[in-house]
Subunit: 356 residues, 2 copies
């Protein structure tokens, strides 16, 4: 395994005061991880250096052709002071899935996981301890050849940056308002929808922006082929509790394989619940709502963990779900997942990894 060189900052930044608001993704820690790739040489020169701007050629490929993948994960300060990561192996495996689709060379997953642990360990004082707060970790890879031409890059950078973030819902778990997007499509089978790549998020900006202007939190995406099957909600996976079945769209190429999604599925099955990954149309959801069989709906993702959906609008059809209240499944998943993440609940699944 390559040695990671460490250059500590000589000018540590002032850390946010305990309890101070931590707006998502705006405050960065003292250090970052960088590793370069060159064709013929492979990944080389892993290093942890002071956080700061990088030099970039205006012709750098990622700026023009979007050869860029990322991951999102968190480090949690457990109640006993330990710092825990949540299923980091799954993030690194998914990063390599994204890499493959974007013609980015594979990384050594174990090594990358160790590099992230080392970075978090060095910046451990930045892991916040407030209720619901955590350290958001953003690994990403960009193609940086100074070359205006549509080709896989020969020189790339793998970087990891971290930001302390506050509770996603500072006033507690709050159901959100979502509408079904009819004009825009996020991704289609054959495309890049199953990867965490820049273009998928670019494609979502306009719908998201219009949703916010109409006082909705996010949109529910439908498939790009038949425009009827449910895909994701905003930047989260989505679940529906219909009668005694929990349904979530199956992974078929256009949906991200969320790590919170897979954890929810594993956990609910462990609890003996019936969980089905299958095609589910917006008509089916609307019909279930009308017949009083739609008990709950919620999104799952790293940022918010669980986001109950209280209000779902599909054209003229408005569904108030569980009277706009949090349902028992959403609440139990949220409590158990965050309980494991913050070390309050026994981790029966072996999902947490302690940063040494």
């Amino acid at each position: 395994m390559q040695e990671i060189k460490v250059e500590l900052t000589k000018n540590p930044k002032e850390k946010p005061a305990p309890g101070a608001p931590l707006p998502f993704g705006t405050i960065f820690t003292d250090h970052m991880f960088i590793m370069d790739y060159d064709l013929g040489q492979g990944w080389h020169d892993p290093r942890i250096v002071p956080y700061g701007p990088i030099e970039m050629e205006p012709s750098a490929m990622c700026l023009h052709y979007g050869q860029s993948v990322f991951e999102g994960m968190k480090a949690y300060r457990a109640v006993d002071g330990r710092i825990l990561l949540f299923r980091p192996d799954k993030n690194m495996a998914r990063l390599n899935v994204s890499n493959d689709r974007l013609c980015i060379p594979q990384i050594d997953e174990k090594f990358a996981e160790k590099a992230i642990e080392k970075l978090v360990s060095i910046d451990r004082d930045w892991v916040p301890s407030g209720e619901g707060a955590s350290l958001y970790i953003r690994p990403f890879i960009i193609g940086v050849d100074p070359h205006v031409g549509v080709h896989p890059a020969h020189h790339l950078m793998f970087m990891v940056i971290c930001c302390p973030v506050g509770a996603y819902y500072p006033e507690g778990l709050n159901p959100v308002k979502i509408y079904v997007e009819k004009n825009y499509v996020r991704a289609v089978r054959g495309g890049m929808g199953y990867t965490k790549t820049a273009g998928n998020y670019a494609a979502s900006l306009k719908a998201q922006d219009e949703a916010e202007k109409q006082d909705y939190t996010q949109v529910l995406w439908l498939d790009g082929v038949e425009r009827k099957y449910i895909e994701e909600v905003g930047t989260m996976n989505v679940f529906f509790v219909i009668d005694d079945e929990v349904v979530t769209p199956e992974l078929q190429g256009s949906i991200l394989s969320g790590i919170t999604r897979m954890s929810c599925i594993d956990m609910m099955r462990h609890w003996g619940m019936k969980v089905t990954e299958r095609k589910i149309s917006i008509d089916e959801v609307a019909r279930a709502a009308q017949e009083g069989r739609l008990k709950e709906a919620f999104g799952s993702g790293t940022a918010a963990v669980i986001s109950p959906i209280g209000h779902l609008k599909w054209g003229d059809v408005v569904m108030e779900i569980n009277k706009g209240e949090i349902g028992p499944v959403s609440q139990k998943l949220y409590d158990t997942l965050t309980g494991i993440q913050w070390g309050k609940v026994k981790d029966e699944f072996g999902w947490t990894v302690e940063v040494q």
Copy 2:
């Protein structure tokens, strides 16, 4: 109109020797144009400065979420020494179409065109004079907020960089080999296919890479819904001459509105040819080929202008088009378009703009 500040380089680079090979997109001129956008302030501080790397925060939005659009255009050194741009107003109009889809604030098209003319004028000695050579111009806009969050950027940069490029086909117009892509999809209606945004090119990398490994130049994309209608070829629009009709896929949201495409259509109609923009399936093309009615096929784009397709493979079906030779329509379009661009043929359409 805002004043463009100019800071000339103190260290002009050595220009490529006349006749030296100019690999596409790798050599950059002495200067670049930059303009910033800030929410509440609008576009400001237009300036031409020495070409060089920019400082970028690792959290810059464009690196993670692909909020990035661009254009591609060329300046040509006419036979009489004038420097000509080809329909730059169309590029700027399309840039604003891309901007709208990507939640990027509109630019002043006239001003941007003037800025590009000024940049080319300052770097006019970089416009090569060799046969088929030109100055490739790359305007692009990127969101650069140092913020890890999926939202339209509040701070953006509009930049223009230029590179002298040699003839696309140094040994003359040469038919290319293309195969029909069956696994990957470039874009789908409701997505971003009609824009020049980073993610569309990222989505194309893997198919393009696999094509090159199989000794094909590019792929022919099919639509993402029915997987049968023809969209584009690689990074170009595509035309088929079937009997006495020239057919090109209609613009319906997933195809780029190429400026060479519209110029080809205008020109052929001016010549009295029957040109139809409509849905065209790969089955129809294969049937026409089998029945001897497929006379020609060619791609159109800024880089190569016209690329005749001599060989088209669709699964087990191999179509040799016009015996692998350049057809009369391709040749006439190429000669006329490049004739206008290099000032050898009278510009009846008013398409060229002289750089003063």
